[in-house]
Amino acid sequence: MRRTLYDKLFDSHVVRTEADGTALLYVDRHLVHEVTSPQAFEGLKLAGRRPWRAGSIVATADHNTPTQDWAHGIRDPISRTQVETLDANIRQYGAKAYFPFLDKRQGIVHVIGPETGATLPGMTVVCGDSHTSTHGAFGALAWGIGTSEVEHVLATQCLLAKRAKTMLVRVEGRLGPGVTAKDLVLAVIGRIGTAGGTGHAIEFGGAAIRALSMEGRMTVCNMAIEAGARAGLVAPDDTTFDYVRGRPFAPVGAQWDRAIALWRTLASDEGATYDATHVFDAAEIMPQVTWGTSPEMVVPVDGRVPDPDRERDATRRDGIAKALEYMGLVPNTRITDIAIDKVFIGSCTNSRIEDLRAAAAVARGRRVASNVKLAMVVPGSGSVKAQAEVEGLDLVFLAAGFEWREPGCSMCLAMNDDRLEPGERCASTSNRNFEGRQGAGGRTHLVSPAMAAAAAIAGRFVDVRRLS
């Protein structure tokens, strides 16, 4: 039987199967952060249990941590308690690696997993965070779970799962200059919708995906969840192996050779069938900008905000009207006529070194527009920050008027002090433009790092390819 990559990954982790097809899947890597783990550790403790394999755990504090004034610690006492609770839990039970607040390798859990080699092809990777789909870029079966399941993994090293349906998103051709992985995945979500991938694992394939760097593939898989799919996948290849080689937790010597041989089998068989297939032409994809309160509410930068009166479906029409009201936008407004107040470059979607290079290339020698109150760059990890500083990117950003911050989730979800005020409009490289996501009343437009930098310079959305 010809199997898809998803099937191979699923099958290789089945411990047992119930009569109705519910499988018990073994978990290789458990990523842990401070927000979704305290109740799980507490449950474990109350039941008199211990982690099944603490060596599977890689933990960090990222959601609550401040991005400036680290010398002052975490000022919000509730946030501080949450971070200290993680410290205490890891101290008590151990982990393969822990990158606590203030550690120079601390960062966003979905950035440090890959960069330390804690994420490897062929693994199952779970985390109490929906953007765990990111790790699928390595040909790992990776998905987000709730806190009850975090506890289940801690206690049993397994999860109960039903086999998902499979979807192939094949992107043929080549992305044009100035068009990035972010634009690609936003265009995919714009077409299939935020529920288009519900119940599916999406495998991304085709020449345009093969041509992406690991950073680009991570951006694409990261946002598979915004298309409704718990897991995104890219078959590992030489790009993957070149990225993984030499990372701290990657195999070495004879084990590396064995690993590579195994990892090369992680591709869908020729002729394997999918439950759904969507084909895109990369050459047709333009830089994208979201206009509404769902990632599917997206148009090319030369487009306009839609008019609800032209939508026939009542629920959709109502959705558009509500979104425009929240976003403070008038139907048919040109995207390039929308002025912004703040810029956020960061998040598990777009805070890796390649993202910062792309944004810096636009910012170099230019100045943030006077109507932009704050333009901030938040590296995904301490290691990304250090690399960027070696390359002098921090100076490029500072000279242009951007703030250069410490790593963390920051204004992607605004659990720390970084947030939008009511009514403020932001060009953001993050993944969600939901109401209030970046701060109560805040208005988020999702874009690529280059487009965010261009918006900062122009003070409004512009096509980065036409920036003079």
Binding site: R16, L24, Y26, V35, Q39, G144, E149, C158, M415
Partner: protein
């Protein structure tokens, strides 16, 4: 976990699609290290006119009179009627915790986001899927008849209105149904297979030692 067998309750209609978990429970309430107490902040940004923060007395906050759950006729509702793709976005289990803490025992919608759907079952909250047209009829009935109640029978997999004029069947995976009917603890069930897990693990780590 609280078992779910038969439940009769008042229905509240939340008439919008793609309700995300950020809307169900905003991020500032995720700083808690507890599982309980999220009910007063369910749909916080829609439900109150001011901005909520942890630790403030919610009873003193101004309610948004336009938000459906604040309408007197829906006070005490325990069944939430919703539109497609309910619970999309963040994996936060605080969303089902908040819904259950508020008093909801079941949700009825045409579709759910996968992680949210899964999280509901872990908390004795039954996420029922009905067809778009069936959900539309329930919206009409709920709006038309103050005090509209439904009875949900998990064993029989039925949703029935009080007068019996509306009755729908729904699907549920047998394993999940059993866990919910009996209020079973997933972890306890899985640990019955601890030997199989150990055997699997030993073989896997021997074959791929880089996974250890």
């Amino acid at each position: 976990m609280q078992p779910f067998r038969v439940h009769s309750g008042l229905v509240a209609p939340l008439d919008r699609a793609n309700v995300d978990t950020d809307a169900i429970i905003p991020k500032q309430f995720l700083k808690s290290i507890k599982r309980s107490g999220f009910g007063p902040n369910l749909f916080d940004a829609w439900r109150y006119l001011d901005h909520g923060e942890p630790g403030i007395d919610n009873a003193k906050r101004p309610l948004n009179p336009d938000f459906v759950l604040n309408e007197p006729r829906y006070r005490g509702a325990s069944i939430l009627l919703a539109r497609r793709n309910f619970g999309c976005g963040s994996s936060r289990e605080h969303a089902p915790w908040a819904l259950a803490d508020y008093g909801f025992r079941a949700i009825i919608a045409p579709s759910y986001a996968d992680i949210f759907h899964n999280n509901c079952y872990k908390n004795g909250l039954l996420p029922i899927v009905l067809g778009e047209s069936e959900v539309a009829r329930l919206f009409d009935a709920t709006l038309a008849f103050p005090g509209f109640t439904l009875t949900i029978d998990l064993e029989r997999q039925t949703v029935v209105s009080k007068d019996g004029s509306m009755a729908f069947g729904f699907e549920v995976e047998p394993f999940r149904k059993k866990c919910l009917l009996e209020g079973l603890d997933d972890i306890g069930l899985t640990l019955r297979h601890a030997d199989e897990i150990r055997t699997f693990e030993a073989r896997r780590l021997a074959e791929q030692p880089w996974l250890a």
